[in-house]
């Protein structure tokens, strides 16, 4: 890849150098005209040539700057997408771990707190860097789903409640009905989808 770029650079330099060299020679021999046929002679206006050269140089400088800015934006966008993908992967693993029978409630609560705070921080970062709108629907949906999964994992029935098919706590450890395990699994898939939509939104966003 580097070799091709090098060769391309040499070709461009040769193509630019050739007319420039001819121009310098013409000035040196004080003959800015050239004849293509007996009756047809062209006269080169040096100021036109200088003006053209300056335009080309300016165009190259501006293009390089824009290219650099595009490269920075692409790199930063990829970075924040990687952060969300890493969060998705880790959070999914942790949710699998804490949805097993016998997990300590305090451990589950701690996991949910840590990942909830991490997600809020990531979303805030994405908004501050201009990759997400402040009122991003995907962001709000994701936060709501993460809060919902806290309920699915830790909400036990109140005294006197007739509902008894979800979560039980025995000596501080969580136990889930099969129905509740299904609900948790679906909620995890839902969170995965929401993160995907968020990543798509970041990828398509136009930074201000």
């Amino acid at each position: 890849m580097i070799k091709i770029e090098l060769i391309a650079g040499y070709i461009i330099a040769f193509l630019l150098g050739l007319p420039f060299g001819f121009f310098v020679y013409s000035i040196a021999v004080n003959d800015l005209g050239f004849q293509v046929a007996k009756e047809i002679t062209y006269q080169i206006d040096p100021w036109n040539v200088i003006s053209l050269l300056i335009s080309v140089i300016l165009a190259v400088i501006v293009l390089r700057k824009l290219n650099k800015s595009d490269e920075n934006d692409k790199a930063e966008r990829e970075l924040i997408i990687n952060y969300f993908n890493a969060f998705n992967s880790e959070f999914t693993d942790k949710l699998g771990e804490v949805s097993k029978d016998g997990t300590a409630l305090s451990y589950t609560a701690n996991i949910l707190k840590r990942y909830g705070v991490r997600l809020e921080t990531l979303l805030k970062l994405a908004i501050e860097q201009g990759f997400l709108r402040e009122e991003s629907e995907n962001g709000e949906n994701l936060l709501r789903k993460v809060r919902n999964i806290r309920t699915l994992l830790t909400d036990t029935p109140a005294k006197g409640s007739l509902v008894d098919d979800g979560v039980k706590v025995i000596k501080g450890k969580l136990f889930f009905s099969e129905k509740q395990k299904d609900k948790i699994a679906y909620a995890v898939y839902d969170i995965n989808c929401s993160i995907f939509l968020l990543v798509v939104e970041i990828n398509r966003s136009l930074r201000k």
């Binding site: 609560a109 909830g116 936060l143 501080g172």
Partner: protein, 105 residues
Amino acid sequence: MISIARDFSVAPGPRLIEEGEFSGEDFRNRILAPKYTEAIQANAKLVVNLDGTLGYGTSFLEEAFGGLVRIGNSPDEVKSRLEIISTEEPYLIEDITEYIEKAND
């Protein structure tokens, strides 16, 4: 002011006393309800700080704050009397408000 981490436990537990240690029911009975009564008598706000713990299960918070309504207080009175601080997880304040409002549903 009540700091749950300092005055009760850094590891809040389940909903009910029978389910395990440091339950929401225990917190309400021993700390929250008595302090709430004092606040009413002094016509003062009761500040409850949620920060500094390992995290909360939904039912701990529901039993503590929703339960405060179920033991005979009006939801509006509880909402106006309580001031919840939660800088680590600000969304818990909204959750608690909902538990108070829907305590008798």
